[in-house]
Assembly symmetry: C2
DNA sequence: ATCATTAATCGTAATTATACGATGAAGATA
DNA sequence: TATCTTCATCGTATAATTACGATTAATGAT
């Protein structure tokens, strides 16, 4: 079933193909998810409710977005019912940041006049 | 109408909100589009046909992907029928690279133990 | 004039994404 | 035990994405 938050196939920037990159970008392709990510980063840790209080979306929708972010490995979850604490997966995010930077820059280093 | 390749609202990294970021990430959220982008970067300039020859997708599909990449501002088009030459929008891509890097890093600079 | 090449667009089908309300599960508290 | 809070999941409706073949448009070559 599905890949957990710490998926080994995403650990090494150099083994990240177009498929893996697309998954990460897809997770970032929704404005609500970007806001959620920023909110978590700002508050370091937070639960679904705090985000629901701040964004104009239903709790079930937020929960679903959190799931997508988790499956892409961008955040981690720690559940102690009835609460779930979400936080940024810093290690992976840093790796993704580097990969993205390298990828985009590799598209720019030519001189097509 | 719609936004052309050099959309002023995307020119400044600091004015890029979650909505604008999501558009860029959405354009990058498809493996075929990543491959297309890499192919264009590798060959500096190329037409739809060269990409169609290399990817297992129909010409109409490639053309559609190119349109998405163009609307997101990642590539520019120069059409002299019956050809269209695509190339990387380096300036915008560099700006996007910086924005993405800054955004992802801003999510990592806390210490939530 | 006819044909070939290249690429955009249209129509369409299948899949995926997004959002919601309702429900269920887990534990804390009255 | 009954109630509250928090969150995940289910079912569902709507919209967007992805892909294809067919068609059209523009130009160059025969």
């Amino acid at each position: 079933m599905a890949n957990s938050s710490q998926d080994a196939t995403l650990a090494d920037p150099n083994t990240r193909g177009s498929q893996e990159m697309a998954v990460v970008f897809a997770a970032l392709s929704n404005p609500a998810r970007i806001e959620i990510l920023m909110h978590i980063a700002k508050h370091q840790c937070c639960g679904c409710k705090e985000i629901t209080d701040v964004l104009p979306l239903a709790q079930s929708t937020i929960s679903q977005h959190l799931k997508v972010l988790g499956e892409a490995g961008l955040i981690t979850v720690e559940t102690v019912p009835p609460r779930s604490r979400y936080q940024i997966n810093e290690q992976l995010l840093r790796s993704i940041s580097d990969t993205t930077h390298a990828f985009l820059n590799s598209c720019c280093k030519s001189d097509c006049s």
